[in-house]
Symmetry: C2
Subunit: 427 residues, 2 copies
């Protein structure tokens, strides 16, 4: 009988109790965030839109941050998430490599975004904030924040990139169901939105512009803070539960990873999986970490390492990162979460120092391997996650061709059930 346990579960007692802060472990210290005058931003400047605790996390040199009990309780709704051995995918590919995926799709929002959404909603709540604004691309972040805000009793307004709202109408339904307001971006609600519409009424919107709208509104209201679902250091901090659980689960499986692969939009999914492995990457042990990005928005593989703003209007500080430029208009690829001109400063620093690699994949390969996962494992990945899947499959096939095999781990950062329109169109 060939029925094998293919999911590695951890008991609830094994949820990581701390977040791992990679900042003190980076090969080079991160450059400071700069203001419009190119002078370092003061922590107090950020207080208009972020609560004290998150600002402290953003610049912390403390290696370990205990997870507050209410956040642990919230995470325990779905964590630890399973690590799954994709045996039928291995068979379909015809490879001897062992392929595992960390299944973040089991969260209430269907993606890894819930990890930081719960933490950010909590810190804003204890700071006396009653209302949050944010942007969302694919809708995963907006969904996660809507649920987290509901959990901690906050109101939410979401600016959703227009092209994604059109492609994924169900995302709005689910955010509304959870009590959040959702507007297509650019909207008439903000100066940044009105200017963009005046310039081009038919614009598809970008993540950068949606960030401008959300920040503009948060700055203008004392009851309202802004929350970001990726890019920033504190977001990656909250996502390190992913990599820490993978470390425990691989140990249970008797495995040591050869490849860690995650898709990269703003960097939170990749950072969450990989940063807990930075000490190992630095130690020179055999381990390759690859950030997978779309060939049509190749921030890490074709962008420039520079100081650039995180949004289109330039409301955010300038950050040291790989960027395609704030005016980069990505094509309407079906992975809204990867339509971002910039990258996390942490991931940018890791790439610049050579500790990690980046690889761009074509939409053809992304959908080819997404279908293979659907056919073999009966799992429909989010288009974002399918980028990591594609790089994983290509790498496993490459190893096979060289007569080798290895242990490859990728993050299934989300399921694709709310992104099915992406699978309904020829590439």
């Amino acid at each position: 009988m060939s029925i094998e346990e293919n999911k590695i579960f951890l008991p609830k007692t094994q949820i990581p109790k701390n977040w791992y802060n990679v900042l003190p472990d980076l090969p080079e210290p991160l450059g400071p965030y700069l203001g419009p005058d190119r002078q370092p931003v003061k922590v107090s400047d950020l207080a208009a839109i972020f609560p004290k605790d998150l600002i402290e996390q953003e610049v912390s040199s403390q290696a370990i941050h205990p997870i507050p009990e209410p956040v642990l309780e919230a995470l325990s709704i779905w964590r630890p998430t399973p690590l799954v051995r994709a045996r039928r995918l291995e068979k379909a590919l015809g490879v001897k490599s062992r392929i595992y995926y960390k299944d973040e799709s089991v969260s209430p929002s269907g993606s890894h975004k819930s990890n930081t959404a719960m933490a950010q909603a909590y810190y804003n709540q204890i700071a006396g904030i009653t209302r949050l604004t944010t942007e969302t691309g694919a809708g995963q972040w907006g969904t996660a924040l809507a649920i987290a805000a509901k959990h901690f009793g906050l109101d939410v307004r979401v600016f959703m990139v227009k092209v994604s709202l059109t492609q994924k109408p169900y995302r709005k339904v689910i955010m509304n169901l959870m009590g959040a307001e959702v507007f297509p971006s650019p909207s008439e609600l903000t100066k940044a939105g009105r200017e963009a519409l005046a310039k081009d009424p038919n614009t598809l919107g970008t993540l950068g512009l949606a960030i401008s709208e959300a920040v503009e509104e948060a700055v203008s209201r004392p009851d309202t803070n802004y929350v970001l679902g990726s890019v920033l250091n504190h977001v990656i901090l909250h996502q390190t539960v992913i990599g820490q659980e993978v470390q425990q689960q691989l140990a249970l499986a008797g495995e040591k990873p050869d490849y860690l692969i995650a898709c990269h939009g703003g960097g939170s999914n990749f950072g969450g999986l990989v940063t807990p492995y930075v000490p190992m990457l630095k130690s020179g042990e055999k381990l390759v970490a690859i950030a997978a990005e779309p060939a049509s928005c190749p921030t890490l593989t074709a962008g420039k390492f520079t100081y650039d703003a995180g949004d289109t209007a330039g409301f955010t500080p300038l950050m040291p990162m790989y960027s395609l430029g704030t005016d980069f208009q990505p094509p309407a690829i079906h992975a809204g979460g990867l339509r971002y001109h910039g990258a996390s400063p942490i991931v940018s620093s890791l790439l610049k120092s050579g500790l990690i690699q980046a690889q761009a994949v074509s939409a053809e390969d992304v959908f080819k391997y997404a279908k293979l996962l659907a056919y073999s494992e009966y799992v429909i990945p989010a288009p974002e996650s399918a980028h990591a899947l594609a790089v994983t499959c290509l790498k496993a096939l490459e190893l096979e061709k060289e007569g080798q095999s290895g242990c490859l781990v990728f993050t299934l950062s989300g399921h694709g059930l709310l992104d099915l329109s992406a699978y309904d169109q020829p590439i």
Copy 2:
């Protein structure tokens, strides 16, 4: 720290190895299926559309049917499914009762339908059949069959009730992705479809008519068999893995159920949960089983126990069951899986003998408690499953009012992520 295990998992070794056949345990033997001449149908008459093994199961007097190894392997992709203690729902309701749900939404299709889809695809494959036709209402069954057919290498044509196809376009995408053909019913492909369209070109379609189309096509082609996702005895047989797992899981939790509640469309979900408990129900032990149905399609609570056809055109045998009549046109409720005029003969027999109860719920209550589940457990139920949820919540509140409490178990037969349009409209 208030983090508690709320999911009761079973190891893969605990997947039930047998299906439980309730037929020999029914208080009264089922009346035979009748032909158009009202004479009992001969087993050989069914051979035009069903394989031998399934026909044998349909009329079997054998208490236990071993599950074939290839089916066990297929089920092990997602089974055993978790039994979840809905503590946050209990808290939101303010009840002392313990509420559990059996989470069938974790299957590849997102619903319990995969349990029988895998079995039926297998038996057709070993009978040399290469092509299957079926109908689908909500789309859960069509999705499950598309995946099962892919698993066992068969082609599939799905007739989907037109109103459901319009409400749930993603369902077609996922079935197509898995290699199935999908047509709105009524279609021009069959005589039954063409006649219905001639009568009313704007008809919304019904499950009964879609069955007629699928049966008509299967009868006319030797390579093609018909498969049904509910109603029939062999379908309920395959679903008994649900109730058998619940028995093991409740024992692990140290619980004895007071109420078993499942929604009822054709009867497979309800039968799967409840029939393994028939010996206990007959023993006179304290246990109440309730079939939850929509007030707008009240087959069990307002239908007549009679001999009626399973489809609109009258291609199926006449079966002894509760029915609203084959020409009943249910309103366009957002629970396509419950838009059926008839009921499973097994469930009908259990109801007639007084071993089980039935309860109709209003759409208002269904969506009210669906939202409560979304708000408390961060789980969006399929509209069908929300009927069982609503009856469960109403019963728990009723017990509370009487100063009592109990152990209530309902089936979350599917998730609602592909049914979100239902949540986007006022009742």
